[in-house]
C-alpha cells in the first residue's frame, strides 16, 4: 500500500484572522500621551524691588483646608469661579494709558484696570486636597481660555478655529512649519492681550 501523505491543513483563512486582530488592535489601542496643566513657578531669588500691585488688581482665590473656596474673601461655589474670574480679567476699569479697548467688562472702578495688570493669586492650605486644587486651577485656566478664544475669533474670524484649537494645532508635531509660522503671531497677539498671570502662592498656614 502506498504511503499516505498527511493531509495539509488549510491555512488560507489565517491571514484573515491576523488582519481581523490587527484591525481590532488598531481601533482599540490609544497611544498614550500625557496631558495636564502647564504652570510656571516663580524663580527662587527674591526680587530686590517688588513691584507695587494695587489691591484692586489682585483677584484672590483661597482654597481652605476644608476644600472650601474663598474668592475675594467671600465664600463661593466652584461653579461660579469661571465667570467671576472672567468678570475680573475682562473688567478694564483703567483710564488713559491703562485703558483696555478690547475689554467687554463692566469697567468697574473697584476691579482690575486691564488684563495685563490683573493678577490671580491662588492660595492653598497644606491640608487642601490636590483634586480640588486642580479643579480650581482648571477653572482659572478656563477663564483665560474663554477670553482668549473670544479675542482670537474676533481677530481671525475666517480661520474657523478658536484659540485653544489653534494652540493645539501649533503644538502638534504634524503641523507643517509654514502653518506654524503663520499661527504664531496670531497666537502671540491674543496671549499678550490676556497674559496668564496666575500666581501660586505659598501655603497660607505654614504649619510644621
Amino acid at each position: 500500500m502506498a504511503k499516505r501523505s498527511a493531509p495539509e491543513v488549510n491555512a488560507g483563512s489565517m491571514a484573515d484572522i491576523a488582519f481581523l486582530l490587527l484591525i481590532f488592535f488598531l481601533v482599540t489601542t490609544t497611544i498614550e500621551t500625557d496631558s495636564g496643566l502647564n504652570r510656571k513657578l516663580p524663580p527662587m531669588e527674591d526680587q530686590v524691588d517688588p513691584p507695587i500691585i494695587r489691591q484692586k488688581n489682585i483677584f484672590t482665590v483661597l482654597v481652605s483646608k476644608n476644600d472650601q473656596l474663598l474668592v475675594e474673601e467671600e465664600l463661593a461655589d466652584i461653579k461660579d469661579l469661571r465667570s467671576l474670574a472672567v468678570e475680573f480679567l475682562d473688567n478694564g476699569g483703567g483710564v488713559g494709558d491703562e485703558a483696555c479697548d478690547y475689554c467687554q467688562g463692566k469697567r468697574d472702578e473697584a476691579s482690575s484696570d486691564n488684563p495685563d495688570k490683573a493678577i490671580i493669586s491662588l492660595k492653598s492650605d497644606r491640608e487642601t486636597s490636590y483634586k480640588v486644587y486642580i479643579a480650581v486651577q482648571n477653572e482659572l485656566v478656563a477663564a483665560y481660555n474663554e477670553l482668549r478664544n473670544r479675542e482670537f475669533l474676533r481677530l481671525n474670524p475666517n480661520l474657523g478655529v478658536n484659540y485653544v484649537e489653534a494652540q493645539k494645532k501649533y503644538d502638534d508635531p504634524r503641523t507643517s512649519e509654514d502653518d506654524r509660522e503663520e499661527l504664531k503671531p496670531k497666537l502671540d497677539v491674543v496671549k499678550k492681550m490676556y497674559p496668564q498671570k496666575l500666581s501660586e502662592a505659598e501655603s497660607s498656614s505654614k504649619s510644621s
Binding site: S35, G36, N38, L41
Partner: protein
Amino acid sequence: MSKFKKKKGGELPAISTASLPDIVFMLLFFFMVATVMRDSTLLIVNKLPAADQVEKLDKKDRVMYIYAGKPSSRYVDKYGSTARIQLNDKFATVSEVGAFILAERASKRQELQNVLTTALKVDSETKMGLIQDIKQELRKVSALKINYTTRVGDYTQNIN
C-alpha cells in the same frame, strides 16, 4: 479529448501561506511602535485628577516625572499610608527631589537642558502640603516649568 479532461481526484491545491510571516511582522512592528514602555513601576496609588483645559505633553525626552501618592496596598504594611514621593523606582523624601532633578537634567542632551518640564503625577487624594514642598524644591534647583498631569475629564469629577 485530453484538453477538457477533469483533473483526477479533485483535490484542493494547497493555499500558499507565504504572506503569513509578513502579516505577523506587520503586527509585531505595529505594537513595537505603539507600545509605551512604562519605565518605572508604580509603588503608589496614582489616580490622576480630572481637568479639561489641558495641554498635551509631547516630546517625552523633555519630561522628568515625579510621582506622589499613597503607597499602593501591597506596600502599605511596609511604608504606611501617608502620601509619599516616588522618584524612578523607589520612594524618596522631599529633600531628594532636588538631587533627582539635577541628575535627570545632567543626563539629558545639552540643548534640551533648558527646556525640560517636570511632570507632577500626583494622586488626587494627596494633600497640597506635599506638593507645595515639591514645588519649593523645584524652585531651589530652578526647574520652573511644571505640568500637573491630569486625565481628561470634567472638573466636577474632582468634587464629591
